[in-house]
Amino acid sequence: MDSVTTLTACPSVPSTVWAVPRSRAALDTFFRGFGFTTEADLSALAAWVLDGYGAQGAQPPAAVALARARMETWFASVLGMEHAGPGLLARGRAAFVLCDGANRGARLLTRASAPEDFVKAARAAVPVPAPAQVSAVMPEQQLVLWPFGELLRRWWRGVSPDVSISR
């Protein structure tokens, strides 16, 4: 038999979900990365991902891809447009873990909308290592170290000033 029956404790998802065991294991690993550890939470989250997409028979890579998509959608709604863009999943996961989101159980993800206090905490916890760059060039300054010698050298060799080995 290639599928198992998993009992979930989460009222917002079906109580039984069929999943390919390797896919389920991959999903468990994925959600453990968010801090979920209990079997009840993990099975509820597997159901949330696979049921939502009607993909109970999905193979591990597809199942994880679905989970990523599901989480990205969730983070986009929770964190808002301010944090949209590449790396949303990584930054969202960091905010989720730093706010101990997993302690609130799988229901935090599966319910229609996240509680306001969590949304506020998660938005404040999104790591922003730097703001958007405004590129500028810091031109290397010309310093003629010995102007009199330089004058002589240029007169003798007819070359342009050379003040830096990085040029």
């Binding site: 990365g33 873990v97 290592p129």
Partner: protein, 674 residues
């Protein structure tokens, strides 16, 4: 833009006063020295001696007259002419500019770094001007453990103060150009977002009111390129550090006010605790890489002097503003750490010799380069002066007719020599006496430094200990100068900032040569005359006692013992400024968890793993400089299931690769499940 003067009308008077009097004093002193030495005619060693004396005495004379100028400036009114200061109305207005506060770090203790950032941040918030400031910790750390600990500390700091989006942590894997390169990288990426940039050091701490004042002064003085707030040493407990802190607090203001009083808008920049006009800095202060090899070629090591010179060359002024206050840093905890720092600074300052004649610089910028060089070269000059003196004495003793020496006409003018010695000592100690006088007569100051008696006693003890330590520093610095000139390479590792006791064995190893020099000096002097031994005793005693002095002054217990008895107390200790107190409290309350193994921490801790990966993905391009071989080897060790430890390079390579970290963590979780 051509360099031109922005100096006030009194500038010429101030400069002629200090530089002219220093020149006259040097001339008079040198003539007197020549008179004393030429009693028996003038030998070659004596000519050298007079030349060396002129240089050393000139250096003392300049410090002396600068201290006099500082004393007068502080006594008559501390505000410098030439800057426009805000009116009370303007002080109440919101800032119209944006300022970044940047702290470049390199393998530092994250607990103290982030405590200082938090205290400064909170202090700015308390002024109500937080919206005008952003904070950046610019990490150049090369150790994987330091890097992960910084990420953790930054995240914790942001959580505590709600600082995400205002306190940033930028990691650089390629630390080209060291601190100057780090700052340059910041300017090229984010500099244009800000009107001004406050540059801090890893141990800097600044009062929010000072930062607001600095930003406002920059707004009001559009031609000001850099304002330097002289930092005050605070926060250390070892006896050596407490001596530094005390000296800096009592004598430092006189010296800083004196330099500011005559240098005015052509002052210098010390590399930290200063505000710079960002656009001018970007456009005019990109450092060249000097032709030739180290010590004079390559990347500019002491960037601050050069940046100040370039800023001034571009037509912007550079001000030292002692009245700003609220600017703090920490001194090295012991003599060896102090010497280690000096070794770096020495090479950096000597490199400036090649810039003294560079085209287009303001004469004062050339003067700053020379003064920076002289602050280290003075030591070997004094050493050569001593050696020349000994050689001259030996010459007279063994090569002159003994009967001639007994002639009253040719007799050495001992009272004259004592007089010149007394004048030299008086000029050396003048900044201490002037600083003490200001502290004694400033209302409430002495009371906050343990009372008048304790204050005077502290100055006396500090002077004795500083005099004993000076010969050792003279030999250290002489070694650094000669070593640098002979191609000694400086290792720019981070400084020791902890108050740890020094082992006797290390002190003995470091000072063995110094003690031998002391013994040798006394032995040679004894060959000449007992009187010469007495003359050299102040130098020799310091060298002979180098080991116990270094070990004992490195002890926190002795520093605290002195503090309990009211010695070397600072007003900032008896009535600590809020920002200093807060920084200490944060360091104690929020100890940063040690990271013994960076990889283990990132793979084993869900929070750290998520945070680290988020930071990696938010800063694309970080892994550009990863060595493929190191990453391959790290992957083999991490994913191969063996227990082989990773090298430092492999750790960094793995920590830069999202794929490797994700795979390794998944593997670990799967293994845990099964």
């Amino acid at each position: 833009m051509e360099a031109h003067s922005f100096s006030p009308e009194s500038a010429a008077f101030r400069r002629v006063g200090v530089l002219g009097l220093a020149a006259v004093t040097t001339l008079v002193g040198t003539l007197e020295m020549h008179r004393l030495l030429s009693a028996h005619g003038t030998s070659v060693p004596e000519v050298v001696l007079v030349g060396l004396f002129a240089l050393c005495f000139g250096w003392i004379a300049l410090s002396f007259w600068t201290a006099i100028a500082g004393f007068l400036q502080l006594a008559l009114g501390p505000r410098l002419p030439g800057l426009r200061y805000p009116t009370p109305d303007e002080e109440g207005q919101p800032l119209a500019s944006r300022t970044s506060v940047v702290m470049p770090i390199h393998n530092e203790d994250p607990a103290s770094v982030f405590a200082n950032v938090q205290a400064t941040y909170e202090s700015v918030a308390a002024t109500g001007h937080l919206d005008a400031f952003d904070f950046y910790v610019l990490s150049d750390s090369t150790r994987a453990e330091a890097w992960v600990a910084e990420e953790l500390a930054w995240s914790e700091l942001c959580r505590r103060v709600g600082g995400q989006g205002r306190i940033f942590y930028r990691r650089r894997t390629d630390n080209t150009g060291k601190k100057a390169g780090n700052l340059g990288d910041f300017c090229e990426r984010w500099g244009r977002r800000y009107d001004f940039t406050v540059v801090l050091d890893a141990d800097s701490l600044m009062d929010g009111r000072t930062l607001v004042k600095m930003a406002r002064l920059m707004e009001l003085n559009p031609r000001a390129g850099i304002l330097q707030a002289p930092p005050l040493n605070v926060g250390r407990t070892t006896l050596f550090a407490r001596l530094q802190q005390f000296a800096g607090r009592v004598y430092g203001p006189v010296v800083a006010a004196g330099a500011a009083a005559w240098q005015l808008g052509e002052s210098n920049y010390w590399g930290h605790n200063a505000i710079i006009r960002t656009e001018a800095f970007i456009n005019h202060c990109g450092l060249p890489v000097l032709p030739g090899k180290q010590p004079f070629g390559g990347h500019i090591l002491s960037h601050d002097f050069v940046e100040a010179a370039l800023m001034r060359r571009a037509g912007y002024t550079v001000w030292l503003v002692p009245e700003l206050g609220g600017s703090y840093e920490q001194p090295p905890p012991n003599l060896l750490a102090y010497a280690q720092r000096d070794r770096r600074w020495c090479q950096g300052n000597l490199q400036h010799l090649s810039l003294v004649m560079a085209g287009g610089l303001h004469p004062f910028s050339r003067g700053h380069f020379l003064m920076g060089v002289m602050s280290y070269v003075a030591s070997p000059l004094w050493l050569l002066f001593l050696v020349s003196g000994l050689v001259a004495a030996l010459h007279d003793r063994f090569f002159l007719d003994a009967h001639a020496l007994e002639s009253p006409v040719l007799a050495f003018d001992a009272p004259g020599a004592l007089r010149l010695f007394a004048v030299s000592m008086g000029m050396l100690f003048a900044p201490k006496v002037l600083g003490l006088m200001l502290a004694l007569f400033k209302r409430g100051e002495a009371a906050r430094m343990g009372g008048r008696v304790k204050l005077v006693l502290s100055v006396l003890v500090e002077s004795v200990l500083a005099s004993l330590l000076a010969p050792v520093m003279m030999l250290f610095q002489s070694h650094f100068v000669f070593g640098t000139l002979l191609g000694y390479r400086v290792n720019w590792s981070s400084q020791q900032r902890e108050d740890a006791d020094l082992p006797w064995s290390e002190a003995a190893r470091r000072h063995a040569v110094h003690m031998a020099v002391g013994v040798g000096m006394l032995a040679v002097a004894a060959l000449v005359s007992p009187a010469l031994v007495a003359w050299l005793l102040p130098v020799a005693v310091g060298l002979l006692l180098a080991v116990p002095l270094t070990v004992l002054t490195a002890r926190s217990s002795l520093g605290m013992w002195a503090a309990r008895r009211g010695l070397f107390l600072l007003p900032e200790e008896t009535e600590p400024p809020e920002v200093v107190e807060r920084a200490q409290a944060i360091t104690e309350e929020h100890a940063v968890e040690p990271v013994p193994d960076a990889i283990e921490r990132v793979l084993g801790d869900a929070k750290m793993h998520a945070l680290h990966l988020a930071l990696l993905e938010s800063q694309p391009g970080l892994a550009e400089h990863t060595s493929p071989a190191a990453l391959e080897s790290a992957r083999r060790k991490l994913l191969g299931g063996g227990a082989e430890p990773l090298s430092a390079q492999e750790k960094v390579a793995a920590l830069l690769d999202v794929g490797t970290l994700s795979e390794a963590r998944e593997q670990r979780l799967t293994r845990a499940l099964s």
